[in-house]
Symmetry: D2
Subunit: 321 residues, 4 copies
Amino acid sequence: MAAIVAANVGDAVAYGADRWTREMEDAFREAFGEQATAYAMFNGSGANVVGLGLMLRAFDGVICAASAHINGHEAGAAERVLGTKLLTVETDDGKLRPEHVLGQLEALGNEHHSQPRVVSISQVTECGTLYTADEVAALGEVAHAHGLYLHMDGARLANAAAEAGSSLRALTTDAGVDVLSFGGTKNGALAAEALVILRPELDPAALFLRKQGMQLASKMRFVAAQLTALLQNDLWHRNAVHANAMAHRLADGIAGVWPLRYPVQSNAVFPILTEKALTELQTRQLFSIWHRPTSVIRLVTSFDTTPDDVDTLITDLLSLR
Amino acid sequence: MAAIVAANVGDAVAYGADRWTREMEDAFREAFGEQATAYAMFNGSGANVVGLGLMLRAFDGVICAASAHINGHEAGAAERVLGTKLLTVETDDGKLRPEHVLGQLEALGNEHHSQPRVVSISQVTECGTLYTADEVAALGEVAHAHGLYLHMDGARLANAAAEAGSSLRALTTDAGVDVLSFGGTKNGALAAEALVILRPELDPAALFLRKQGMQLASKMRFVAAQLTALLQNDLWHRNAVHANAMAHRLADGIAGVWPLRYPVQSNAVFPILTEKALTELQTRQLFSIWHRPTSVIRLVTSFDTTPDDVDTLITDLLSLR
Amino acid sequence: MAAIVAANVGDAVAYGADRWTREMEDAFREAFGEQATAYAMFNGSGANVVGLGLMLRAFDGVICAASAHINGHEAGAAERVLGTKLLTVETDDGKLRPEHVLGQLEALGNEHHSQPRVVSISQVTECGTLYTADEVAALGEVAHAHGLYLHMDGARLANAAAEAGSSLRALTTDAGVDVLSFGGTKNGALAAEALVILRPELDPAALFLRKQGMQLASKMRFVAAQLTALLQNDLWHRNAVHANAMAHRLADGIAGVWPLRYPVQSNAVFPILTEKALTELQTRQLFSIWHRPTSVIRLVTSFDTTPDDVDTLITDLLSLR
Amino acid sequence: MAAIVAANVGDAVAYGADRWTREMEDAFREAFGEQATAYAMFNGSGANVVGLGLMLRAFDGVICAASAHINGHEAGAAERVLGTKLLTVETDDGKLRPEHVLGQLEALGNEHHSQPRVVSISQVTECGTLYTADEVAALGEVAHAHGLYLHMDGARLANAAAEAGSSLRALTTDAGVDVLSFGGTKNGALAAEALVILRPELDPAALFLRKQGMQLASKMRFVAAQLTALLQNDLWHRNAVHANAMAHRLADGIAGVWPLRYPVQSNAVFPILTEKALTELQTRQLFSIWHRPTSVIRLVTSFDTTPDDVDTLITDLLSLR
């Protein structure tokens, strides 16, 4: 917020030819390496669609977990805007593995099938689970070995890096990611995500696809400034460390009472309640149901969740046992 | 073929305003009921895409089996041309069941998800399995109860009706199907499929979507004549009965030696070989592999398969044991 | 800006279920009438694409001036995202007239052609010219008489209303506009536009198309608050009156020296320079060239343009004579 | 027709792996040069859409005459299936000229605009006018000089070559055409067009786009055989020479009575009638109106038009004076 207010001085050239956007680009190069180019976007769906679009020909598909945000929570934007087919794989924990990718490659070269072109993973996954740098690298290797690209939906990359205790770069550039959606909004920004291109040959189409994808801000400095603020002085890290800590506090607080559907590896907790407890909790709290038949709910902490918030929720949850 | 040659007399008005097309339309009305309107198409993908397009809004999806032809064998045409998301369900035998449909309906009304709008089934399925009239009706009921439509990819509807000993109408119109792709090519035509609309309110868009979908034949009489020939004098039935009989002859011939992956309910047989037998057979015959890890192959008989063709194949298969 | 900062208090439910969004919706109802529903968007292309999408079937086209922003300045977003054809009409001054619409209607009912479905006008036009309420109403009448809708790209509707001395409603709801893009960004917002639906039957698809069009802000209060601020206390009007006044000041200052390509009816001035003057001016100022062969440039004033800014530019322009 | 019947012997591998398709491919290589690859399609819209798709990225547009078939007579298929924008140019006679192309190139590199990528011309044009080999070559040069491709919609290329007294190759390969739609249906086939790729680097995507574009015939031999028959023994040439001769006979027969809108350069004649004559003729003949306000009608002759057909029409037309 402070960054936005600070950017509100005088006039600036529209559409990104301003110094705030230059600063943002520098900040991403510093964080992800010299070859990184970054483009401010309004939201995560926009970053994902534009980023995938850089890699796809008209007859290409995207291998992803069935639980991926691009598959289940973007209202079919990928199909509508890109005309692509998502080649979904059922997973237990939201994590794609090399064998999942290999299982889709029989279609290569067969005109009757969408051609696998991109492997897309979410870091952290929609289940809150984390890919280690080695796991990302293994996916990058299998993708590249078969002429595919590796895309990361990093709406919560910050949480992943904070949890793994690694740099942003170690989980992306160094692990073979070609195109990244870098999440800002879930990490404290008002509305700011970035498309980060780590393979320069994919860069030239980005300006055109961003504009066509309705993600070009005329007053771009206000979007760019948010991203710069997150990257500078490790604000992204502090925010993510805090959010993750709150999730662990929550998990610890209900341990032994409510089992968890997935391990806590970021800022999300998935308690398995009973149907009765779930119904009762709905009268007290607003939360999202992950899987109703098994009474799994999804609780997500954020940069501004307080220990008190968590403790109140713990008390509620414990009282339902 | 005879029908095409017979249609090659004199001039005719282009784009379907000719007597051959009128005859075809009459033939479909006779077979499917008074409300049926029929549109000649070049191939099955065309009929499916145009037919689905009649029912879909920009944010709608199609519930179908993961094995459906529209999902796995049309090169992403539905996603590219319609921009739709296929909401796929894993099935054991290619058959969608009411509980599969119900499992997808939680998305209704939630803007984050593609909206289920159509239930699409293949009759017979890609596994060669058959929906009974009652099973189709049950799907129609659940679809209609929730404001969805029922679409049938009937590329091999003739085989289904022949096997079930029922009329075309009993498996479609009378069972609640709203839009049908009627297959001609697999049943003896050179290149002719029909989109058959059984719910009149969906009809007005058909001419426009067919043209836009690049399925409008300028010399339509040659396509229409093929379809009329199949429907008249029960040629469709004779062809399908024969093809099915050849499949059963094949299945009977290898019974006790090679188990089958799916029951034979039409003109397809799916023997489970060994890896060694599969490899050996490839040196003798051209066939398609259904699932390589389990050595399942797919053998399809047709209107012109002879008992000798089948017996030769049986001999080959038996020799591989 | 103040509004954004004010909205940054405490937590709010995501995706628009918050009190800032409710206030915005109320503000639009007050300005445009009881039936108006409003949806916050990130930018004008987003509002246009989503708004047009409400009205278009897969085989429909949009009648618009060739100079329209949706045709020339949105990088083909309408074709890509909506798959629609823009049925463009050459105009002298950017203004569509009833006879232009009538000239496109021969295609109605002919399957070989995209079907005209929407008349889209820009208020003010890309040439800075203004439609009177009567002119809008005349277009609405011809559109509605033939089953078409009337869409207004109102990126600068505020400037139009300020210039016409009329209310927002008089130029839209009361003149038969069905769907409106209401511009905030050019009128002082950081990044906020609104899709305003004036024909309730078109409303149900809006949430879905906004999400699919990648225009759904998770922290919507920050977008909504900007729009509310513009609508409350007539801020939109003050900003637009000022911008228009600056344009007139500029036009007056160069009168008699540089002729204008279009009359000044809002916040844009289009001087016809000489090639030499244009080249010389490029060394001193950053501006956009409207039509190079005739040396027409485009100068746009804004809510924060000062009289001094204008006078400096006048001095520059006069010195080039 | 004879070719189709001849192809109806025994079984053949589906989807083009048959000897009839091989023969067709050879025939196209012989006619268009060694680098030519050819793909059978069902109709001209299919060939155009698939062919353009080979060259277009998601943000690209196609420069064409406003009168082009792809713009005005394919129901928006290019926009729907390819998501492309057609960058139309008004012409007097349907012929695009290098200056038209140059006038569209200002958009190159500007993210706000669709990027010109293909120049598409119709040979002969929808006005029946002919591009000379030199004119085609001039367009090819300007296109290639700016990184664009040259596409030819050759639905009536045969008529053009016959009229010009040149080979098919002289008007295409040798003149710089990169991708060609070769028309068969208007030249005597039942339903057969070919996509001919003259620039090998564009070839790899063809199989995939044809399948996705719903133009893949399973029993391809019947389509291929038609094309081979046209190319062998110069049948294409005899048919086209005859059709053109009939058009000239018609034009000569009404010379001095009814002026022509365009010169006769192929198989189309565009007499300028009076409104009264047009109305009267409608009671006697079925024909298409080209431009109602000026009473221009469009008369097209074909491979099977007889001199008697023409003379009857001449008599009718002369009687209307």
